[in-house]
């Protein structure tokens, strides 16, 4: 039993890392644009499909396929920002919060059905990064999972370095704190919007592309992970990067261990997805700022 629990805990960690990648993108978008991107799951799905096709049709090596797919989705994100989200900041729409919710939700319907039409309803699996399994004592875990976790950590650290240590990241942070003040200091907030939405989309795509060889790829694959990312950003505190990473690991573990520790196994599995949602509901009711959020962030 302890072994099984340990294995579950390890699986929870790996899943938590993928969640973290996706939620990090959502956090980046929220902190700069003050928008919850309801189409995030579809960007994740597109990332998985692009990576799959690049590897299968053009023979890209898996890692290169992941990176290229991130770049493609980055530009899709940029296009979405320019076409649909820009009006929020130029004062062209009246009810900004609601507009942003509805338009990203509409985009998610559109992209999901477009994928269903273009790629078909069949499930696919990306080629594996690394075959075989690694055994540590009596625990065995597939190399793919280990490789994916390592890549996820690399992407996360890269994002943190870009945000924390570069001039560009400084600009992003400035805009996330105060749009007008940043503009006065000579930072173009529109450019930062583009960058944040593009990079956030690319992170979602990275999550999807990495999950490709482990789980299955299908047009509605983003529906569940996107809800997990919502849970994470709320639990961690909207807009907090530290909170986002810690909350992802908490959620991954809570789900993996919670379903095992539930007395009735079949119902335990059924309720697995409800654990995180319960977190979300409780956090919103008790402490809407989450674990590390500073204050209630809303669009002005």
């Amino acid at each position: 039993m302890t072994e099984y629990l340990l294995l579950q805990a390890l699986n929870g960690l790996i899943i938590g890392l993928i969640y973290a990648l996706m939620a990090l993108g959502l956090t980046l978008i929220f902190s700069v644009l003050k928008i919850v991107n309801f189409a995030h799951g579809e960007l994740y799905m597109l990332g998985a499909y692009f990576s799959y096709y690049l590897a299968k049709l053009f023979g890209f090596p898996p890692v290169l396929a992941v990176l290229s797919s991130m770049i493609i989705v980055f530009f899709i994100g940029v296009v979405i920002e320019v076409l649909f989200l820009r009006p929020v900041y130029t004062g062209a729409v009246e009810r900004k919060d609601e507009y942003a919710i509805l338009i990203t939700f509409g985009l998610s319907i559109f992209l999901q059905n477009l994928a269903l039409f273009v790629f078909g309803p069949w499930t696919r699996r990306s080629p594996s990064f690394m075959s075989g399994t690694t055994s540590v004592y009596s625990l065995s875990i597939s190399n793919d999972r280990l490789f994916v976790s390592a890549l996820a950590v690399v992407f996360m650290i890269a994002t943190l370095v870009i945000i924390g240590r570069t001039f560009m990241g400084k600009g992003l942070r400035a805009v996330s704190q105060d749009r007008e003040a940043a503009a006065i200091a000579g930072i173009n907030p529109f450019k930062m919007n583009l960058l944040a939405f593009g990079a956030g989309s690319a992170l979602a795509a990275a999550g999807g592309a990495l999950i490709g060889p482990i789980f299955l790829i299908f047009p509605t694959m983003g529906a569940m992970p996107v809800i997990k990312s919502f849970v994470i950003i709320v639990l961690g505190g909207m807009g907090s990067i530290k909170g986002c990473i810690i909350a992802s690991l908490i959620l991954g573990e809570a789900e993996s261990l919670g379903s095992v520790l539930f007395p009735d196994l079949t119902r335990g599995l059924a309720y697995k997805n409800a654990i995180g949602l319960l977190f979300l509901v409780v956090v919103l009711l008790v402490k809407p700022t989450g674990l590390f959020g500073e204050k209630h962030v809303r669009m002005k």
């Binding site: 649909f84 609601e98 509805l102 338009i103 939700f105 319907i109 919502f230 919103l284």
Partner: protein, 304 residues
């Protein structure tokens, strides 16, 4: 008036399948118009509307199955149950606005769906729950007039609300909560009231649906269902009950008419939703209707 007569006379001209499509369209029209009241007028963008319809549907179905009461009574009980859940959501969400409210209501809907799935011993889970019919005769015409009656009555009530002081307070809360509060509007009361009223109509629609379709699965709560309701309201015109109804009818009929295109029609509707939002925030149908009526008024004026 012309529309009403046409709706009354339609069953004569249609076969069973055509009637079925219209019945479903009226069901969506009721959901869409009540969501329009909640989101468009009161400004509460809740994603729990489909779940509230399911509360009405499952309450009514389980009541009939377990206590042998007639659906005629259980459907109103289901609606009241939905209103009760709506009260709870409204009460809990008093502090939540914008994206926070959206996330909360999505989470509520998903939890409810998961519970319905997991407790399959009571709810039938994904296999579905067999629900007794509303009428003992196999007559679509009876169902048709029932839902038409429910829809017209509900619309009349909602129209009355919109035109009354209550509707005015709803809009005041939507535009600026703080300002409304300083002017003496009891914001808490009207926010909760908006949820209670609209949830009642959602539950009513759900209850009827359960006893008409006679098989219930938790899928009626899925997010795409909510997406469909939102698309209907947005395309119809988010600040107009008539627009929402028109949006629901047109989208549902278009979906049937374009059946051969399968996924492509949803791609098209999604695109239409996004484009409508981006370029015409009062919807597509309402402005066209406005323009047409204005034109005809002008024509009248000129001919006079």
């Amino acid at each position: 008036m012309v529309l009403f007569l046409a709706a009354m006379a339609l069953p004569v001209a249609l076969d069973g399948y055509g009637l079925h499509i219209l019945i479903i369209a009226y069901y969506y029209a009721l959901l869409a118009s009540s969501w329009c009241l909640l989101a468009g007028y009161a400004g509460q963008f809740s994603f729990a509307h489909a779940a509230l319809a399911a509360v009405g549907a499952y309450t009514s179905a389980l009541l009939v199955l377990n206590t042998d009461i007639s659906p005629v009574f259980s459907i109103p009980i289901g609606s009241v149950a939905a209103a009760g859940v709506g009260f709870c959501i409204g009460f809990l969400c008093l502090r939540l606005q914008g994206p926070y409210l959206a996330l909360f209501t999505i989470a509520f809907s998903e939890i409810f769906r998961i519970v319905l799935n997991a407790e399959y011993r009571y709810t039938g889970g994904n296999f579905g729950l067999n629900v007794p019919p509303l009428f003992s005769q196999e007559s679509r015409i009876l169902y048709y007039y029932t839902i038409l009656g429910i829809l017209i009555l509900s619309l009349a009530i909602m129209h009355k609300i919109v035109k009354s002081r209550l509707g005015l307070f709803f809009r005041a809360v939507r535009e600026d909560e703080e300002a409304a509060a300083t002017l003496g509007v009891n914001v808490i009361k009207y926010k909760i009231l908006a949820f209670v009223i609209t949830s009642f109509f959602a539950g009513l629609a759900g209850g009827f649906y359960a006893h008409y379709v006679r098989i219930l699965t938790p899928n009626i709560i899925q997010l795409p269902q909510m997406g469909l309701i939102i698309a209907m309201v947005v395309i119809g015109g988010i600040e107009s009950l008539a627009g929402a109804v028109a949006g629901a009818l047109i989208l549902q009929l278009a979906a049937e008419y374009l059946r051969d295109y399968e996924e492509l029609r949803w791609v098209f509707f999604g695109l239409l939703l996004v484009i409508t939002l981006r370029f015409s925030q009062n919807g597509l149908i309402y402005p066209i209707y406005k323009r047409l009526t204005k034109k005809s008024e002008k024509d009248h004026a000129e001919s006079d």
